[in-house]
C-alpha cells in the first residue's frame, strides 16, 4: 500500500517527516501536486490543498482520502463518489477550541472589552461606569447540539447562565440533565435568548436560515455568534439587525472566504470578526495530526477508518 501526504508549504515538513518516519515509514510527504501521476492508494491532505477533479485524476490507484480537518470543501465529492473512493475528515479535534472561541466572543461583548480597551489605550481616559455585564443569569441559546454544542454547554455551566438548545435530534433526558440543557423549539430559542450561538451544519434547510424574519424574533441587544458556516446567515439581514436592534455579533465564518472587506459588516462597532479560525489553535493542530495519523494507521491495517463522509 502506498501513502502520500500533501502539506501546505507553511507547515514545516521536516519535523512532520521525522515523526512520520517513526510511525509509517512508507508515507511520502510533498508540498504540492505538481506532478503528472502518482500511484498512492492513500492521500492525506489539509483543506489548503485543492483536490478537484483534475488533481484527483493524478491518482489512478486512489482508494482513500483523509482530510486532516473538520471541513472538506476543497474535495470534489462527485468524483470520489464516481470512483468509489472513501473520504474521511476529522470532526473531533477542534471542538474544544471552537467552544472556547465562542465564549471569548460572549465575554468580550458582555464585559465591554472593546470600549474599555479603547478608553484606556486610545483616549487615555479612566471611565468610572461601563455597561459591563455578567454571563451568570443570562440565557444562552445553542443551535445545534453536536460535538461542539456539547463542549460549549459543558464550559458554560460554570458561568451559570440558563442554557436553551435546539437540534433536529434531541438528546436523551439523562444527557440533557447532565449538561443542564433545556430543549425548546427553534423560534422559542430565538425569542428567549440573550445570546445565540450557531453550531448547525450547512444543509439546504439551514442555508440562509438567519434572515430578516428570524433576526426579527431575537431580543433587541442580543448577541449573535456564528462559528459554523457563513452561508447559514444572510449577511445583509445581520447588518440590519445589528444596526436596527442594537444587536452584537461575533463572526468567524463568511459566505465567501476571504470575505469582501468593503462590506459594511467590517465597519460596524458591535461586530467582532475573526478569520475562520475558531477551531485553529496550536493544540487543536496537534490533535488533528494525532487523529489523522490514527485513522491512516487503521486503514493501513485493514480496519475501517473512522469519520467516513457519507455521500
Amino acid at each position: 500500500m502506498k501513502f502520500l501526504t500533501v502539506l501546505p508549504e507553511f507547515i514545516p515538513s521536516a519535523s512532520v517527516s521525522d515523526t512520520i518516519n517513526q510511525i509509517l515509514p512508507e508515507m511520502k510527504i510533498v508540498n504540492d501536486l505538481n506532478f503528472e501521476k502518482n500511484d498512492a492508494d492513500v492521500l492525506v491532505a489539509t483543506t489548503f490543498t485543492r483536490l478537484g477533479r483534475d488533481e484527483l485524476k493524478k491518482f489512478p490507484n486512489l482508494k482513500y482520502v483523509q482530510i486532516a480537518s473538520t471541513g472538506y470543501d476543497n474535495v470534489d465529492i462527485p468524483y470520489l463518489k464516481e470512483k468509489g473512493i472513501t473520504l474521511c475528515n476529522i470532526p473531533v479535534a477542534n471542538k474544544q477550541s471552537v467552544a472556547e472561541h465562542v465564549i471569548t466572543f460572549m465575554l468580550v461583548f458582555l464585559k465591554d472589552m472593546i470600549f474599555l480597551n479603547s478608553e484606556l489605550k486610545e483616549k487615555k481616559n479612566w471611565p468610572l461606569l461601563t455597561g459591563s455585564r455578567d454571563l451568570e443569569g443570562k440565557t444562552v441559546g445553542i443551535l445545534g447540539m453536536g460535538m461542539i454544542g456539547v463542549q460549549l454547554a459543558r464550559r458554560l455551566i460554570s458561568f451559570g447562565p440558563s442554557i436553551l438548545y435546539y437540534d433536529v435530534k434531541r438528546l436523551s433526558t439523562a444527557d440533557e440533565e447532565m449538561l443542564g440543557l433545556n430543549y425548546v423549539p427553534f423560534d422559542d430559542l430565538l425569542t428567549n435568548s440573550d445570546i445565540v450561538s450557531v453550531h448547525m451544519p450547512l444543509t439546504p434547510q439551514t442555508r440562509g436560515i438567519f434572515n430578516e424574519e428570524n433576526f426579527s424574533k431575537m431580543k433587541d441587544g442580543a448577541i449573535f455568534i456564528n462559528t459554523s458556516r457563513g452561508e447559514i446567515v444572510d449577511e445583509k439581514a445581520l447588518i440590519n439587525a445589528v444596526k436596527r436592534k442594537g444587536m452584537k455579533a461575533g463572526i468567524d465564518v463568511y459566505a465567501k472566504e476571504p470575505p469582501d472587506f468593503d462590506s459594511e459588516l467590517f465597519k460596524l462597532e458591535n461586530v467582532i470578526c475573526s478569520p475562520h479560525i475558531a477551531g485553529v489553535t496550536v493544540e487543536s493542530q496537534q490533535r488533528f495530526l494525532t487523529e489523522t495519523i490514527s485513522n491512516v494507521l487503521r486503514y493501513a491495517q485493514g480496519i475501517d477508518p473512522l469519520y467516513r463522509v457519507e455521500f
Binding site: Q22, M178, I293, L297, Q301, D304, L306
Partner: protein, 513 residues
Amino acid sequence: MRGYEAFADAVKRLDLLPIFGNPGTTELTSLKGVDDYVLTHFDGLSVGMADGLSQFTFSPHLVNLHTVLGLGNSMAYIHSAKMNYSPVVVTVGQQDLRHISMEPLLSGDILGLVGNSVKFKYELKNSSEISSVLRRAKSEALTPPIGPVLLSLPMNIMDEESTYRPPEPVRVSYDVQNDEAAERVSELIKQSRNPALVFGWEIDLFDAFKEAERVAEKLGCPVYGEPLTHRSPFDSTNRMFGGNLLPGSTLINLKLLQNDLVVFIGGDVLLYPYLPSPLLEGKKVVFVGLNFSPKFGDFYRANVKYFLRELEGKITKKGSFSRAADFQTTTKIANEKERMGITYVMSKVKKQFSDYVIVDEAISSSTVLRDVLGYAPRKYFFNKSGQLGWGSPAAAGISMKSGKVLAIIGEGSFMYSLQILWTVKRYNLPVKFLILRNGGYSILKSYSLSYSPGVEKKDYLSFYLPTERFAESFGIESMVADKELESLKWLSEGNESRLLVVDVDRTIPKLFL
C-alpha cells in the same frame, strides 16, 4: 510412612502452606494429613489466590487441583501466573494408576493439558520421591525465569509406603552480576545524544527503587514505566518519572520520538492492539534483566539491583529532565465530579487508601488508575495476561499477609470470580473491593471504537449487574457509593471485607488512538 504423610510433612517443611484448592475424589488421599487448607468454590480461584500471595511474599505457595477437570478450570489462571512470573506450585490429583489404562472416570492427560504454561511438570512415579520432587518444584518455581510449576499426584502413590527423607530448605540466589552489562550500557549512554530509561517490574521484585532513582537522577533522563507493567517499576512521586509507555508500537515510538537510545531495565515490551509502525526502528535498544528474554534489541542478563549500583558509578549527567508540576488534575477532578469520572474517583481513592496495596483489574480505567494512584514498593499488582477474574482472588491471597488490600475491579471482571466472596467471608480475609460499574465491557467498546468500529454498539457488550446484592448474598457488607464518595471512608473502616460499588462515567473513549 505413607505417601500422603510424606506430602503433609514436606509441604510444611518447605513452607508451602496453606494449600489452596477445591478438592475432588482424586485429591482425598493426598490431603489426608493436611489441615492448613483454604477452600475456594472454583478451582481457578485457588491458583489466583496463590498467585497473588506468592508474588506479594516472593515465596511459592501451593495449589491442589482436582485432576484434569480442575486443571482445565484453572488453565487461564496458570497462564496468568506464568505471565506474572509468579512462583506457584500446582499439584493435581490423578486417578489410581493401577487401572489408568482403562481410562477411568476422572483420569486424563494432566501433563499434556498444562502444556508449556508451566516451566516444570512431573507425574510422581513412586512415593519415595515425594519429598525431593516437591523440593525441586519449589526450587524450579523460584529459579529465573520465576514461574509456576506442576506436579501430578496419582492416588495410589499417595497411599503407598515410602522411604521418606525430609527436604532441605530451598535457597535460590539472585546474585547475578554482569560486569559487561554496566560497562557496555554506560558506554552506550555516553555515546547517546538523548537516552531514555524504561523501568519494569523487576525493580519491585528485587526492591531496586533507590538504585533506580539514583541512576535516573544522576543521568537527568526521563524514566518511563514498561507498557502494562504488572508491578511498580519506579517511585512515581519522583519527578524523573515521565509516565507509562502504552502497549502499541506507534504509541511507544511517539513517546520516545526524540530518544536515540532506550534502555529497558527489569522490564520488557508488551503490545496490545496491532499498529503497523516498526517498533523503535533506527534506535539503539538495550534490555537488562533476569527473568525475561526480550524479543529484540541487545540483552544483558543481570539482577537489576546490582546492575544499577554498578551503572551509577559509570555515568554522568546527560539531561535535565524533571516532570512538570501537575496542576491539571485538579481541574480534571472538578470537571469530572458530576459525572463520576475515573480521575475524580481515583483522586478520592488516593486520599482514603494511600497506604493500601492496590490490585488493579479495572481494565478500561487502568491507565488513569496508574497515573493517579501511582507506584511505590509492593503497592501495585496487575495481571499481565489480560485474563479477567484474576484480581479478586489475587487480592484475597495478598490479604492473607497484608491487612490493607484494595481490589479495584470493573463490574464485568468481578463476575468472573464472584465465588471468591465465599472464601473471603469464610476465612475472614480483610480485602476491600471497589467495584467500578460502567454498565458493560467498556474496554471492548473502547477497542471497538478504535479498531473495529460499530461493534461497540452491540447490545451484548452492555449489561446491568447488581453487584452489591450479590455481595450481600455471600454475607459481605456492601453499598452503592454516594456522589461525594464519603462511602470510601466506610469501605476502609473495620477489619472485615467490604464491597463498594461506584457508578462511574459511562463515556467510552477510543483506546489509545
